[in-house]
Amino acid sequence: MKRLALGIAALAVAGIAAGLVLTAPRPLDAERLVAIAAIEGDAAAGETLFWAGGCASCHAAPGSDGEARLLMSGGVRLKSDFGTFIGPNISPHPDAGIGNWRVEDFANAMLAGVSPNGGHYYPAFPYGSYTRMSNRDVADLYAFMTTLPESDVASIPHEVGLPFNIRRSLGGWKLLFFSDEPKVALADADDQLRRGQYLVEGPGHCGECHTPRNPIGGFISGAWLAGAQNPDGEGVIPNITPASSSIGDWSASDIAYYLESGFTPDFDSVGGSMVEVQKNMAQLTSGDRDAIAAYLKAVPAVSDGWK
């Protein structure tokens, strides 16, 4: 009897220990951090990543336009089933923002979802996509971020209740869903298609809204880009696979023109949260928009993800 009790206790301890090990925040390995730190970041190239990554959509003050979209004071509210996340200040301000971060800290945030003090970030910050970014692009983006204006506006805490306010639990989420593997396998991909895949699955993080999720916030498999309920309220985020009833019959150049101008082929316009995204996409080169369009025409056709 005593042996049984001891056994159960040992098992419980082992379980908790294993749980703690498995859910521990895991920064990038030292080798990769050294490689990133060795790159001299090119701020001009980093600006492309800034727009591709949509940083301003969550980190510029709500409703910002023009130059104001470069002031990363934070404040945009992102509602979800798990609570409301509020984009923090990521301007180069040393106290209110991330001005004290080294490139290694930035890389750990972007690629591993780990903060400088070793905690997990919520995946509302889309590191689940950013993790596909190259060392060079992370270094370039870091260089660009340091050129932005400082804001001393304090970050607002997220409004997240139990159990999601226990950051350690995010380790379990990462264990289940966090991977830098490609989302779809594309046979015979040329350079343009590969670029499109990189932009959409990586910095562009299109799937974060356009792919349906299960009740604990993981992507439903086999439904990549199939559209989803709008987490932010009523309505849906459209299906953007070739099976889409809204854009399935658009040509690649229709898609590229939409990303550039905000106009659909029949001159309806972009709406909802995509308005912000389209402003970002308009800043990319036409080659990059064409690459995104090529990729969207090449992904597997999947029926609407919200049905």
Binding site: F267, S269, G272
Partner: protein, 148 residues
């Protein structure tokens, strides 16, 4: 016999009436108005993109169409027209009517400015087309809801 023909008449009447009624519904009216704006925008966009030669009369006609729609568009959002007929009107139109009206007023002001400018050449059109079409996304961001 009489009764039957009455029923037949009633059915014919109802069939004739149904489409007429649907076309009068505010949801349908405003959808048609937005289609007009889309058509006018497309006509100008083809010139702006260089797919069509500049045509001052066509540009002015397009701007006038948009200005006319903008003038009365706000009249077609009565209470209770937030659902039905595949409307994509967002609830925010009714919960934040002032904000919606403000966007509409800006849209109308920019359309009127375009008509007043009566652009004589492509550069003139580009100068009004950009600011005018910024209104599309600015309003659709908060006041239109995609349902499919």
């Amino acid at each position: 016999m009489k009764f039957r023909s009455l029923i037949a008449l009633a059915m014919i009447g109802a069939a004739g009436l149904a489409p007429a009624l649907a076309a009068d519904e505010p949801q349908v009216v405003r959808q048609e108005m937005m289609k007009k704006v889309g058509g006018a925008t497309g006509a100008m966009a083809k010139m702006v993109k260089g797919e069509m030669d500049y045509d001052a009369a066509a540009a002015l006609a397009a701007l006038t169409t948009i200005s006319e729609v903008a003038a009365t568009y706000g009249d077609f959002f009565p209470e209770g027209s937030d659902t039905g007929f595949e409307t994509e009107a967002a609830p925010a139109i009714w919960s934040d009517r002032d904000g919606f009206n403000e966007k509409l007023a800006q849209f109308k002001a920019d359309a009127d400015a375009g008509v007043a400018a009566a652009p004589a050449d492509l550069d003139g059109l580009k100068a009004v087309f950009g600011p005018l079409t910024k209104n599309c996304g600015a309003c659709h961001e908060d006041y239109r809801l995609k349902k499919s």
